[in-house]
Symmetry: C2
Subunit: 127 residues, 2 copies
């Protein structure tokens, strides 16, 4: 079971099992597709994705942010938000493809990242 690192009444965030900074944002209620979300939940979701991206950029200074929603195996709408680095195991390919090098990044503490991120998410204006 992957650890839940943040939640509110509409969403929760899990840490994906990978050495990269990789979060998964789930809706608390199961929806299959993006367009099924109620408007207020959808707007809140966009705000959360953007905030996660901003804090990842500020904290990790990655080369790129990757954002993806598949759900082919698990039909429960969720987003992967991943900080990517030019020398990470998969770059420039997606993290769903084969790794072409060892993980050798020295990244700042993930726990501190979650503390910084949680503060920012908790201080967002209610949408």
């Amino acid at each position: 079971m992957e650890k839940i690192v943040w939640k509110n009444s509409n969403f929760y965030i899990q840490q994906h099992d990978n050495k990269l900074p990789w979060l998964k944002l789930f809706t608390a209620v199961k929806y299959k597709e993006l367009s099924e979300l109620p408007e207020d939940v959808k707007q809140q979701m966009y705000q959360l994705i953007e905030t996660i991206e901003r804090v990842m950029i500020e904290y990790y200074a990655p080369d790129k942010i990757n954002i993806a929603s598949f759900g082919n195996m698990l039909p429960h709408m969720h987003w992967h938000i991943i900080a990517r680095f030019k020398n990470d195991p998969y770059f420039p390919k997606t993290t769903w493809e084969e790794a072409t090098r060892e993980f050798s990044l020295e990244l700042p503490s993930f726990e501190t990242f979650i503390e910084v991120l949680s503060k920012r998410l908790n201080s967002l204006p209610k949408s």
Copy 2:
């Protein structure tokens, strides 16, 4: 060069070179990351993504929609929006992974899909 199938002043849509219904939505102005987009452009982008998803679902009745923004090779913010089917070459894996079966889907006309989609995109309220 992949064909542009729709555009307005802020965005254009390309058909990805694949037999699946697979579109790529680009901003006309180059931004590297989602959080760099001006608020009005970002809201319009979400509206376009949702409309593409809805029309794909109505037209193709796919098993799942996949949505992704990578841009690792090309640092120009763009979204892949893909209709996925249980018997497509990659399912349930992502379309960035190896195909595990031949393409054998009989899908309705892509050209007609683009006509239907263009009408819907052109009739969206200005945000």
